[in-house]
Amino acid sequence: MVLRYDVIAKEIFLSSSIPLNLDIERYFNHHKMMNRIRAFEETAATANADGLVLGAIHLSIGQEAIASGVCQNLEKDDFLLSTHRGHGHTLAKGANPQSMMLELLGRRGGICKGKGGSMHIADFSVGMLGANGVVSANINIASGAAHAIKLKGGNNISCCIFGDGAINRGPFLEGLNWAGVFKLPVLFVCEKNGFASTTVTEAMTSGEGGKQRAQSLGIPAEEVDGNDIVEVDECVRQNIEEIRSGGGPRFILCNTYRLHGHTASDPALYREQKDVDEAWRNDPISKCRDLLKNAGVLDEDLEGHQTDALSEMRAIYDEAKQAPWPELQLAYEDVQDSGDPREEAF
């Protein structure tokens, strides 16, 4: 889409104190992606309420700036390892939302043939090597993917996104230490959304948290406002440049807030409504939209991002509802090359 401006607003913006070199088109694209992520999540929540997504799904509503800011800075051949809250990351890495939605519904054509569901979303064709149902497990795997890059001599990198709860499991120590010892091209991104399931993460975290822990392992670490797409985007871009030029692993802590419950069906009654209301005022999509509006981008085009995204995802959902279940013999496929999995059963 061609960028269209409100000329007067643009003039005011250019003469204001906001950075002059802001690449408006870049944030216009982020705005679009963030809206697509939100629309995907809202549609998935509907599908869950409709009883068509049967397993637990974890929505990333409120965390879209991190997904877009991190993943849109990755190249197609860069690897991405994500979490149980990984729809947004996957979409922003370039996966097809239609095959993602089919996977959530467990239908034929699902990106993992209906065998993984939400928590195992992956799309190897765009370098997305998987969400993970085990908190923290992808940290070691991401370091290992980077290890393969080093052994093979590529210029791509590996990126691992995980939650603030994940820093309390062993793989955080082992995987970051590994990346540091072998000077691997990995970007670690921690989404500090305040919660680990129903628990306030800080209540179960000793010391100052992920950034300081990473630094103690000799990994350069920064902290950004994860709801500010400009901050996330710039920090990620710089760090990726340093990683690509052989600088070894980097860590970015993104402060954000989980606007919905832990799962789509969690009413999250363990927190104060006023805190949630407050957090909504810091919604990353609204912030990005305000920024672009101030820069003179036509509001109707920004509005269009939202409505287009919703109709895209609704259409995808409507189609997915009609899709058949996977072929039954798939239950026995992709287990392993050796041995017949049907033996000795029933």
Binding site: C112, K115, G116, F124, A137, G144, G175, D337
Partner: protein
């Protein structure tokens, strides 16, 4: 043919595969100095420290990083040092390596070999002596290999490295030094193909790994009592060679399974159940197991020996099976 030890045969296999395929690499604690049992000695000099890589004492990272490195196109050989320590990396093996191909809908496979030295090794006590092979057979996605001879340790390790499945490769610590003839050429032993160690007509004795040698000794002793025992080395437990066991039982009508690991829930139970389901009519006597009691392994030699299944134990059980048969 060259006479070499069980340890050196594995080293030869790894070296050959690393020369053949630049994507094969090995990683584990202390590998740069040859590994704790010397099974990597000299390899770092040939292949360099990137491909014979040291690792921090981070079993979960050794396993987990190897899963990632396998998904990203290399073929890691993971050294766990002692099978017991692989338990620090159960998630990485069971939830990640074994499941990735299936749960990601076949978008990847995880070609890695997990070498786990196992078994009783004089006075190593409860955390350095276990044989947990039956656990792994319970996990869809894994291949389980239990070599007993130098030749097999070469041929099976080479196949394991070329396999696109994650392979749990259990070498027995007590037989690192045994010698045998090993083919010099590129031998690849198929998984699921047993080896008849010794032919016999009266009773079939099935075993694997170091216990195979105990079974052979028992067969030798039984011979002096006029009992002809057939000894079968399964070599791999998943897949396992049912055909070899069935045709032996067809011939002898008696089956005894012996393993060093605990009897309860051991792989002997799987073999006994399978033979009972499929070959009940061929059996002249109920299937028997000779395996360890369900106690941890002791430190003091006499206590350690208490739970070891000896050739005498096997002879005694086999003799009873012969006497009480039809």
């Amino acid at each position: 043919m060259t006479v070499m030890t069980y340890a050196d045969a594995a080293k030869a296999a790894l070296a050959e595969e690393m020369r053949r395929d630049p994507l094969v690499w090995a990683v584990g604690e202390d590998l740069g100095r040859g590994g704790v049992f010397g099974q990597y000695k000299g390899l770092v000099e040939e292949f360099g420290s990137e491909r014979i890589s040291d690792a921090p004492i981070s079993e979960a990272a050794i396993m987990g990083a190897s899963v990632g490195a396998a998904m990203a196109g290399t073929r890691p050989v993971v050294e766990m040092r002692f099978a017991d320590f692989a338990l620090c990396a159960v998630d990485e093996l069971v939830n990640q390596a074994a499941k990735a191909r299936y749960m990601l809908g076949g978008q990847t496979n995880v070609p890695m070999v997990i070498r786990e030295p196992m078994g009783i090794w004089r006075s190593s006590a409860a955390q350095h002596s276990q044989s947990l092979e039956s656990w792994y057979t319970h996990i869809p996605g894994l291949v389980v290999v239990v070599p007993s001879t130098p030749a097999d340790n070469k041929g099976l390790l080479k196949s394991a490295i070329r396999s696109d499945d994650p392979v749990v490769y259990l070498e027995h610590k007590n037989i690192w030094g045994i010698k045998g003839e090993v083919p010099d050429e590129d031998i690849l032993l198929p998984f699921g193909k047993a080896r008849i160690e010794r032919e016999g007509a009266d009773i079939s004795i099935v075993s694997w790994s170091a216990q195979l040698h105990v079974a052979s000794e028992a067969a030798e002793n039984l011979q002096t009592k006029g009992i002809s025992a057939e000894v079968i080395d399964l070599r791999t437990l998943w897949p396992w060679d049912k055909e070899a066991v069935f045709s032996s039982v067809e011939k002898t009508g008696r089956l005894l399974v012996t393993h060093e690991s605990v009897s309860v829930g051991g792989f002997g139970a799987e073999i006994a159940a399978t033979v009972s389901e499929h070959m009940f009519k061929a059996l002249k006597h109920p299937v028997r197991r000779c395996a360890a009691p369900r106690v941890p392994i002791s430190y003091a030699p006499p206590l350690e020996d208490m739970i070891r299944v000896t050739a005498t134990n096997i002879v005694d059980v086999a003799t009873i099976m012969m006497d009480s048969g039809n």
